[in-house]
């Protein structure tokens, strides 16, 4: 009995000793930074879902590199003997990764929402520029190269909008920025050219007022053509009586300089002849006394200065005629009205009725503000 008791005590003591040793070993085994690594991984994942790899690339890359460093060090330490492992560096990198990933996430949210707002504003602004180009310069004579720039700018705007609607803000930004460069450049140049053209506005204003005053004084008809607005006005006794849409020469901007330049002249003219039926190919026409004295003087001046080619001729045969209503500037310099409109004008106009052709009766501010 005593012997059995002794053996029992020995076995229990041995078992307790083994357990104590095991507990001691567990206690002194270094603990890996499991929680820190889990948090770093979750934060990095959240930053990725928030598209930090796109909108906060630098910070996200740094966070990812820190996490990868933590894992590499962890693997290296785990190859060492259990009690010689050190996980302090793993913990340091894990915390750094989590901190940077949080910063990347916050930065990404701010950057993407700022970019989205900025892009929306840009799209609206460029759409307005494209609209203004079409509105003011849709029928403006432009070289093919400029037309191509406008076309490309409009197309890039479309592509940018498609990318924006897909949530691809960086590619959208590239397209829209390029579109802005093209369209704004064209618009600014066109406005500069228009301002240059409108330097003659004071002259046009004076001619227009004189024509209206003369109509009032003589109690008769006067015709005024506003080239920029494509309008043909008929005044009686100083009051506007009729208003028609007019179609001009293809190169209508500026005064007529020579025969064949497809420009509609500017100045004070009179009707010198009336044609109808077989007498004209445009249903009815009112022939003007272009070139007048001013036109001849200017032509001679240009010829003497050599700003026109030696073979240039002054031209003539400028009329107000029918055949219009095409919605485009198609004549060789004449002013075209629809057949029904020319009917009316033909009936009221006489030989000697004044016709004043100006660039615009509104100043440039009134045009652009409208």
């Amino acid at each position: 009995m005593r012997k059995i008791l002794r053996w029992l005590i020995f076995i229990l003591s041995t078992a307790a000793l083994i357990w104590l040793v095991i507990l001691l070993l567990i206690h002194i085994t270094p603990l890996p930074p499991e929680d820190e690594m889990t948090y770093a991984r979750q934060t990095l994942s959240e930053a990725g879902r928030g598209k930090a790899d796109t909108y906060s690339k630098k910070l996200y890359s740094e966070a990812k590199a820190d996490y990868d460093s933590a894992m590499a060090i962890w693997r290296r330490e785990n190859k060492r003997f259990l009690f010689f492992r050190h996980y302090e560096k793993v913990e340091t990198y894990a915390k750094l990764s989590a901190k940077t990933a949080n910063q990347a996430n916050e930065s990404s949210e701010t950057n993407s929402s700022t970019l989205k707002i900025r892009l929306k504003d840009k799209i609206d602004s460029i759409t307005k520029t494209a609209y203004n180009i079409n509105k003011f310069f849709g029928r403006y004579p432009m070289p093919t190269e400029i037309r191509n720039r406008i076309s490309k700018g409009n197309f890039l705007l479309q592509e940018g909008e498609v990318a924006y609607n897909k949530g691809q803000y960086l590619p959208a930004n590239t397209k829209i920025t390029e579109s802005e460069y093209l369209l704004t450049g064209v618009y600014d140049n066109a406005i500069a050219e228009l301002k240059d053209y409108f330097k003659s506005f004071s002259t046009w204003k004076q001619w227009t007022q004189s024509a209206i005053d003369e109509s009032k004084k003589s109690r008769s008809y006067s015709i005024i053509v506003d080239k920029f607005s494509r309008k043909c006005y008929v005044y009686l006794r100083g009051e506007k009586k009729y208003e028609f849409e007019a179609e001009l020469g293809r190169n209508w901007v500026g005064d007529k300089r020579r025969m064949g330049d497809l420009a509609t002249p500017e100045g004070n003219y009179k009707i010198v002849n009336k044609f109808h039926g077989k007498e004209t190919e445009y249903y009815k026409s009112l022939s003007l006394d272009y070139p007048n004295a001013r036109d001849k003087e200017r032509f001679q001046d240009e010829m003497s200065k050599g700003t026109l080619p030696a073979w240039a001729k002054i031209g003539g045969g400028i009329e107000i005629h029918g055949g219009g209503g095409k919605g485009v500037d198609w004549t060789e310099g004449c002013i075209a009205l629809t057949d029904s409109e020319i009917d009316l004008v033909y009936n009221i106009a006489k030989v000697g009725t004044p016709v004043t052709i100006v660039g615009s009766i509104k100043n440039i501010s009134q045009i652009l503000d409208n």
């Binding site: 070993l25 270094p30 029928r139 076309s151 197309f155 498609v162 293809r250 044609f275 095409k326 057949d339």
Partner: protein, 218 residues
Amino acid sequence: MKNKVLMGLAALAIVAFLSSCGKVPQAKIDATNAAIDSAKVAEASVYVPAELAAVQDSMKAINAAVEVQKSKMFHKYGPIALKLDQTIVKARQVTADAVAKKAVVKKEVETLMTDIKAVNEENAKLFKKAPRGKEGAQVLDKIKADMATIDASVVEAQGLYDKGAYMDADTKIKAAKASADSINAELKEAIAKVTAKQPAKPAAKPAAKPAAKPAVKK
């Protein structure tokens, strides 16, 4: 007797020690990584980016769990092996989804290419009918420039399609189609406007020299 007891205890200790030393399921880890690589090759990052990111996150968690076990005295890789089995299935699903989505986008691009060719052909016919007058018009010049831009863009989209960049081709062709539709509407409006305004003219009579008409100079 004493020796037998001691040997029994030692045997128990050895069994306990051996049973707690699990092996890293390296073959499964390699297979799962290979499955994720296959998903990347299938362009999952382009077509199903969220799904790919989720699978990659799962793998990161597994890698960390393996190191946690290695950090301990007694390793247990059973739950990790189960997670690997689940992740490899998900990775293969991501690959399948990417392939399917790619096929959908490819089909969409092909449909848009066919549609835009039809619109461009109609635009070319309408352009010939559009009001020209004697010398053409700025509006037609604008439309001509737009049509050239669209043609160039369709060529670019085709190039992207041929390279397999279907998403990029999709963005480009959608923009081109929108422009082509806009031109189509503009041309139809211009033709309708001229048709409505111009009354039917009498048949052209033989040209007789007009009396008292000055020579056309312009």
